[in-house]
């Protein structure tokens, strides 16, 4: 398997509080990867620093051996739903079309073809009925599906999603998971920050157990063990490791 994302030596701190420690990860192409860990484990920080939204103290991330700046257009990011103001005066179709802005470049307007693509994307998340709705009228799950549709029109090879299952209804959860499997079939790489341990085995084929540092990383069947999970959710995972420090 070709490596899609290569993370090396990544360390991030807010002030003097370390969030990520010395992260080394290789994420192969064409997998659905869940990043799992307790609150404050640095899950969101990990994907945000991968796409330059946060500046790390040290380390770097490569996508197909390229720096992020040079391969930006192949990477889509779905932020947490709460990160935007849903009272903003705009429609569903408009939000989805925003995904094309990067490829359009400055000054150019979205074309009919762009709009058509957006409608296609909305169909995939079963939201085409709502195309002309104002976004403030949507439920939480519908908002999430709009965000997914927007990522789809970016037509990327690598997708980062921050808690897409957070606070959504069952219908949306099913829609998202169908979509993820669909992306995998197209040999795309999907990295999802995930909360719910119960669904990891059903939804994903790879998992990264994270608590400031990588506790385990690999195919779900191999690394999603009781012992590893316990290690991850122990609030002082790093302290535990002291026993291992005598090599």
């Amino acid at each position: 398997m070709e490596t899609a994302i290569h993370i090396e030596d990544l360390t991030v701190a807010y002030g003097i509080n370390p969030v990520l420690w010395d992260i080394d990860l290789d994420i192969p192409q064409g997998i659905l990867l869940a990043i799992v860990g307790p609150n404050g484990a640095g899950k969101s920080t990990l994907i945000k620093s991968a796409i330059n939204l946060i500046k790390p103290i040290s380390g770097h991330v490569l996508f197909y051996s390229h720096k992020y700046e040079n391969i930006r257009k192949q990477i889509a990011y779905v932020p947490q739903r709460g990160s935007v103001d849903w009272d903003f005066p705009t429609t569903v179709i408009d939000v989805v079309t925003m995904g094309t802005y990067g490829k359009l470049g400055w000054f150019k307007r979205p074309t009919k073809k762009n709009i058509k693509n957006s409608i296609e994307a909305l169909k995939k998340v079963d939201m085409e009925k709502y195309a002309n709705r104002q976004i403030s009228e949507l439920s939480g799950g519908q908002q999430q599906r709009v965000f997914l549709a927007r990522a789809l029109v970016q037509d990327a090879n690598i997708y980062f999603m921050d808690e897409p299952f957070q606070g959504v209804d069952i219908k949306t959860e099913k829609a998202i998971i169908t979509l993820l499997k669909d992306l995998k079939k197209q040999n795309k790489t999907v990295v999802v920050v995930h909360h719910d341990l119960d669904t990891v085995e059903d939804y994903f084929d790879w998992v990264t157990l994270l608590n400031m540092k990588v506790i385990a990383h690999g195919p779900v069947a191999e690394v999603f063990t009781h012992e590893n999970i316990k290690k991850t959710y122990n609030s002082n995972a790093l302290v535990k490791l002291r026993d291992d420090s005598n090599v």
Binding site: D9, A13, D22, S58, S136, L238, L241, V247
Partner: protein
């Protein structure tokens, strides 16, 4: 000393008045900031203009009580309107403040035309309203300021526990059976009171600074609400006294701006130089941390139990030389010094 007092009787009065105002504005301002309503004082002080003018038109009196009543009524109306906008529209808080502030002020300006037309007052009156003129504070005013400030402080002391709880967690406060509406009304009333008595001394535009700056400065010195409020009052007192004194001995300087500049200097000092929180301390601390972290990364690597083969012998030698690790029979052990350093690097989690 008694000589000084007799000569500078007016000065003492003025300084005293502004000082008292500073205490109550600082105290209630701190609460407003914590409620994320810092700019409510700014909006309210502007919104009092039509009340003052209307009171003057209706009664024909320039009596301070009448004008203050008018101001208070206008402030109450504007607060209610802001609450209404918040409840029924999706307009954000700052936009509704801006709207009420400017709309009311504009209306006051329209009303002023009627006053001018009747030849009763000149623009000078408005000028005083906008910039304040502490120099005209009389003994009776100081008494009045004192009484109102005392009332504000007493009410705050009386409801201290409730205010603290309410500011910290409104929802939880309500579940304990307290009335949120009542407390909200209380805090807003105190705010209105301070604004209304403050306008006369420091003026409309700078009233907001008198409420916000002491709170911002005090926040740099402590995390405790009570300490915050006391410190803010103290800062208000110092700047009020100093500002009024400077402006009184140099007649060309209006009180409000001088008070604000003294306050701003206090804020700047607090922001930059306060221990533990100050910008300078934090910046130095963060950069030292970053440098240390990068320098001793190999130690972290060993500690985390990662693959050791990627470490070079130079890196290992460096750590041994710094007495952070020791190697015995091919086993690497972290020394006490090393553990200490790791403790610091891990932000005290170890």
């Amino acid at each position: 000393m008694s000589d000084f007092i007799s000569i500078n009787y007016t000065l003492i009065i003025v300084v005293l008045g502004t000082m008292i105002l500073g205490i109550s504005a600082g105290a209630i301002g701190t609460i407003s900031i914590l409620r994320r309503q810092a700019l409510i004082g700014d909006a309210l002080s502007h919104a009092t203009l039509p009340g003052v003018v209307l009171a003057f038109i209706l009664t024909g009196q320039k009596d301070i009580w009448v004008l203050l009543c008018g101001a208070a009524i206008a402030a109450v109306v504007s607060v209610s309107l802001i609450a209404l906008i918040q409840k029924y529209t999706k307009i954000k808080n700052d936009a509704s403040l801006a709207l009420i502030l400017s709309g009311f002020f504009g209306f006051g300006q329209v009303l002023l035309v009627f006053v001018q037309r009747s030849g009763n007052a000149s623009q000078a009156g408005l000028n005083k309203f906008i910039f304040g003129q502490a120099a005209t504070i009389l003994r009776a005013d100081v008494l009045f300021l004192g009484i109102v400030s005392l009332l504000i402080i007493l009410l705050m002391l009386l409801f201290w526990k409730e205010i603290k709880h309410f500011v910290f967690n409104k929802e939880h406060f309500q579940t304990l059976g307290f009335s949120s509406i009542l407390l909200n009304t209380l805090i807003l009333s105190l705010t209105i009171l301070v604004v209304v008595i403050g306008i006369r001394s420091v003026g409309v535009i700078l009233m907001s600074a008198l409420m916000i700056s002491p709170g911002v400065a005090s926040r740099q010195w402590s995390d405790k609400l009570s300490v915050n409020v006391i410190l803010a009052s103290l800062f208000g007192l110092i700047s009020g006294a100093l500002g009024a004194y400077i402006s009184a001995i140099k007649a060309s300087l209006p009180t409000g701006p001088v008070v604000v500049i003294v306050l701003s200097i206090i804020v700047i000092i607090s922001l930059f130089f306060s221990p533990k929180r100050g910008i300078i301390y934090q910046a130095r601390r963060n950069s030292t941390y970053k440098k240390t972290l990068i320098k001793y990364k190999p130690l972290v690597h060993i500690y985390s139990g990662n693959d050791l083969s990627i470490l070079t012998s130079t890196e290992l030698d460096f750590l041994v030389k710094e007495n952070l690790i020791e190697g015995k029979d091919d086993i690497i052990k972290i020394t006490t010094d090393g553990t200490q350093l790791l403790k610091y690097l891990l932000g005290g989690i170890l």
